[in-house]
């Protein structure tokens, strides 16, 4: 379990990173949200990557791929302006408890609420670090 302390005293978020405990349904959701994070993203850095890919596809004459990448950059832009963090959505799937209260609702709407709490309390760099460490530990070879 990864425990992250919030900015205020007593604030904690625990992330489940044990493959013996996390259900396959939640791991599957985590993977799907990571796919969205990798393919569209929600930050300026993600958008920059989309544009780099777009340029690469255009210079290689791969127009269908370039159009798809442009479409994905639109989705990324929408996420950015809506304040939705794709990485936060992925991490929300792994939350075991918030301030000691164990999470039992893993629906999409709960996931959106939880990702809001993560955005308030976990820095971007920390969220990247948690996602990477969990990916290494949980993804099957």
């Amino acid at each position: 379990m990864i425990k992250v302390e919030g900015p205020n005293a007593g604030q904690t978020i625990e992330f489940q990173d044990d493959i013996q405990e996390l259900t396959i349904a939640r791991l599957n959701k985590f993977e799907l949200h990571l796919l969205q994070d990798a393919g569209m993203g929600s930050t300026l850095t993600d958008l920059d990557l989309r544009f780099q890919n777009l340029d690469a596809f255009l210079s290689a004459g791969k127009l269908a791929e370039a159009m798809r990448e442009r479409e994905n950059s639109n989705f990324g832009l929408f996420m950015l302006f809506s304040g939705i963090s794709t990485k936060g959505r992925a991490l929300a799937d792994l939350v075991h408890s918030i301030d000691g209260v164990v999470q039992t609702d893993f629906s999409d709407s709960a996931c959106i609420l939880i990702s809001g709490v993560i955005a308030e309390r976990v820095t971007f760099a920390n969220a990247e670090e948690i996602a990477e460490s969990v990916k290494k530990k949980l993804m099957p070879n």
Binding site: T23, I24, A25, L27, N28, A38, G39, R68, P140
Partner: protein
């Protein structure tokens, strides 16, 4: 697997350029072209029937349904480790020389 070996090869070529007086730009460009040829952006448009997320979700549900047909109760609720162990076991049973 080849994906990772190409990343490694590219990194080594860059290191070689940084530490020795060699020009690996042609080899690096070849690797970059290989990556570009393999690259296929995911489809997130929900109106597109090939939507990547829906496709993956369907595959997962189909796998769960197949496991339920083999008597596994609520496979989605299994810990990931147990789920993979069950899938691996059933795969080994399906091999022609398993019996």
């Amino acid at each position: 697997m080849q994906f990772y070996s190409e990343i490694m090869r590219r990194a080594l070529l860059l290191c070689e350029e940084a530490t020795q007086d060699v020009d690996n730009s042609e080899l690096i460009a070849k690797i970059d072209k290989w990556f570009l040829d393999k690259a296929k952006p995911a489809i997130f448009d929900f109106e597109n029937p090939e939507n990547t997320i829906i496709h993956q979700e369907k595959q997962f549900k189909q796998l769960c349904a197949a496991l339920e047909m083999r008597g596994i109760n609520k496979p989605g609720e299994l810990p990931a480790f147990d789920f993979y162990a069950v899938v691996q076991h059933l795969k080994s049973l399906n091999k022609p020389n398993a019996h």
